[in-house]
């Protein structure tokens, strides 16, 4: 087993709002291994972006974080703002959905990449420019030297996202956080950017945390996947295992709701009910009210426990969860998750 680069230990994030406290992330524990591409998936409001903002120290003031987030062994939650600034753009970098928000509209694309290099390293302007040109070429900006001074609006969305990626890898980060990096792009451009991400990962060995809602994107480039629902991490598994045998009832329901691609397939399966209001989150498993296999014990929070297959799920139907939670095997031989 390789080394862990990033570890979330029982991380919870609450937002203090007028309507009460919203528990956006609850007790998430998760370890990212050096060099892997880890996908975090879930629908709107599941907490995947809140968790990543907690990691970057970029949550708004109304948020409070509990638990520990260890990056190379140091706790990010106790770092000062200046320590975090040192890390961001250097050891940890970010790519967001909309490249327009990551780039300054008034400066040339090349100098923005060069600025990132100079902000974290003692290099001359000339050296930074040369390196920026190399990076722009590496991410596939054609005629990078001629476009160096172009402002972002002269570039298409796909090209802008390439520039953002060039800046993100400029200082050889250990961790790249990519939050919906291809969601705003057309499908043929998305395919190009996913290729580029996979390629950069291979060449630099960067660990990638990919936040996505599109299961197709996750299937294409991730090594392992975590599934979140209503602030809880409900399943973590190697990508092949997750797509071959989704185990948590929510993960299964999510896969069932995908249009299969075989046309005239009849009605899609839907998940009954709605995501709970996280200002009044139910106790225990937050999927219980929509779950077709609800048990009495679902009022208690099921622990995420690893089974023999390498997949971990947080569900009282699962033998590993039951063992971890000190419960005996299920009395009725019903629909098991094995």
């Amino acid at each position: 087993m390789s080394d862990s680069l990033l570890e979330f230990r029982k991380v919870s994030v609450d937002y203090a709002g007028r309507g009460g406290t919203v528990s956006a992330v609850t007790d998430v524990s998760l370890t990212l291994i050096e060099g892997e591409t880890f996908g975090l998936v879930g629908e709107s409001g599941c907490g995947k972006t809140t968790l990543s903002m907690a990691l970057m120290g970029l949550l708004p003031d109304i948020a409070s974080v509990r638990g520990r987030i260890l990056f190379n062994g140091s706790d990010l939650t106790t770092m000062t703002e200046s320590q975090l600034r040192e890390l961001r753009g250097d050891r940890i970098s970010m790519v967001f959905q909309d490249p327009a928000t990551s780039l300054d509209p008034t400066f040339g694309i090349g100098s923005q990449v060069a600025d990132t290099i100079r902000a974290h390293g003692d290099v001359s302007r000339k050296q930074a420019k040369d390196r920026a040109l190399g990076l722009l070429a590496e991410v596939g900006i054609p005629a990078a030297a001629e476009r160096y001074a172009d402002p972002p609006h002269r570039l298409s969305g796909g090209m802008r996202q390439r520039v953002v990626l060039a800046a993100a890898i400029a200082n050889n980060p250990a961790l790249l956080l990519a939050d919906e990096p291809t969601t705003a792009l057309d499908v043929t451009i998305q395919a190009q950017i996913l290729d580029l991400l996979a390629d950069l990962q291979r060449r630099h060995g960067t660990t990638i945390l990919l936040i996505a809602h599109d299961l197709g994107v996750v299937a294409q480039i991730c090594d392992r996947v975590g599934v979140m629902y209503a602030g809880q991490l409900v399943e973590v598994a190697p990508v092949a295992e997750l797509f071959a045998r989704p185990r948590h009832p929510y993960t299964r329901a999510l896969f069932d709701a995908l249009p299969s691609g075989s046309h005239q397939a009849g009605a899609l399966r839907v998940i009954a009910g709605q995501v709970p209001d996280l200002a009044h989150a139910p106790t225990g498993c937050r999927f219980k009210d929509r779950c077709p296999s609800r048990l009495a014990e679902c009022d208690e929070t099921p622990p995420l426990a690893m089974s023999d297959s390498g997949a971990s799920i947080a569900c009282w139907l699962d033998p590993a969860t039951r063992a971890a939670g000190g419960l005996g095997p299920l009395a009725i031989a019903g629909e098991s998750n094995g």
Partner: protein, 342 residues
């Protein structure tokens, strides 16, 4: 585009062109955005036809021409046999009732200050249909039809989920009993589980009301699920059209092929290793000569940069505008081996 089977189509689009003159910037007065360039399309009663393409393909502009939100620069649009593209206000008024749009983002298409009951009632008020009691009854009926519980009727859009908001937008679109809904990306702002509910609702409405649907989308798996026929657009042109199984299992145009190949499949055992389409969609201000796809085409031949390809017919429904596909149909053996995949 191929005709729907049997009878006169509900909607018939012929040679529609839409150009937007450039009024600002350095190109002011010098040209136009060629958004839609000579499109033929038909939708039969109760049929679901999808328009697919990337940003800049002209699919939304074509949808707006069809709903009468903008006027085409050239070409004709017939609805139920009556020309509506340049006709009298009377004919257009009737047509407007029978064709209704549904948009991508219900938050921006619903009035945030209005209770949803008022939003759904508004078309009935505007066309002075029925008295107050009849309109109220019709609103209840519409809410029931789209699966909105009656107790939500006084809620504002902000108090509803995205899926419920889209149901409100659909209920309002159905108020005047249209024959055709033109739905522009109606599920792309929704989560997967909510998307499934709305797709089921649209399929159900088609079944129960005999509603025809022109579905404009970029998500091919959604299109494959819901459509009878598909038209693929690229830079203002329909490059391929046919039944959903023809287009998806036997695509003839290299762009269609590339589009299908670019879908990230939710299957890690089928990772994308296929040919990538290089480059990006060119500017519609100055589209490429000949076949508009030729600068990005993996199989382009000499003629592609010179001559605009005509539609080649492969079956009663299936057509594509591609020189290579046409040549292959004419004579399989003359083509180089690497083009055999077409």
């Amino acid at each position: 585009m191929a005709e729907p089977t049997g009878g006169r189509p509900l909607l018939q689009v012929e040679g529609v062109v839409k150009r937007f003159p450039i009024r600002r910037g350095v190109l002011r007065g010098a040209g136009a955005v060629h958004a839609v360039e000579g499109v033929d399309l038909a939708v039969g009663r109760g049929e679901v036809v999808s328009l697919v393409g990337e940003s800049g393909s002209g699919k939304s502009t074509l949808g707006k021409c069809i709903t009468g939100m903008i006027r085409p620069t050239a070409g004709r649009i017939h609805f139920d046999g009556v020309e509506v593209s340049g006709s009298s206000r009377g004919a257009r008024g009737n047509f407007r009732r029978r064709v209704q749009p549904v948009f991508q983002d219900p938050r921006s298409s619903l009035d945030p200050r209005w209770a949803i009951e008022r939003t759904i009632r508004e078309p009935l008020d505007a066309f002075r249909i029925g008295n107050k009691a009849a309109r109220a009854a019709r609103v209840r009926e519409l809410m029931d039809l789209v699966g909105l519980p009656a107790h939500l009727s006084q809620r504002k859009p902000s108090e509803l989920s995205g899926g419920q908001q889209q149901r409100v937008a659909i209920a309002a679109a159905l108020a005047l009993e249209p024959d055709l809904l033109v739905a522009d990306e109606p599920v792309s702002a929704l989560d997967v589980s909510v998307q499934a509910q709305i797709l089921n609702l649209l399929a159900d409405l088609r079944q129960r009301l005999g509603l025809a649907l022109l579905f404009i989308a970029h998500d091919l798996s959604v299109i494959e699920h819901i459509s009878d026929r598909v038209a693929v657009m690229y830079l203002g042109r329909i490059v391929e059209s046919g039944t959903v199984s023809e287009v998806f299992t036997d695509p003839r145009h290299p762009y269609t092929r590339a589009l299908i190949d670019a879908i990230p499949r939710p299957d890690p055992t089928q990772r994308m290793s296929r040919t990538r389409l290089i480059g990006e969609i060119p500017s519609p201000v100055n589209p490429p000569s000949g076949c508009r796809f030729h600068p990005r085409c993996p199989v382009a031949i000499g003629v592609c940069s010179q001559d605009d390809p005509q539609q080649t017919t492969f079956s009663s429904q299936h057509r594509a505008a591609c020189h290579v596909a046409a040549a292959q149909t004419a004579s399989l053996s003359e083509l180089p081996h690497e083009r055999a995949w077409l």
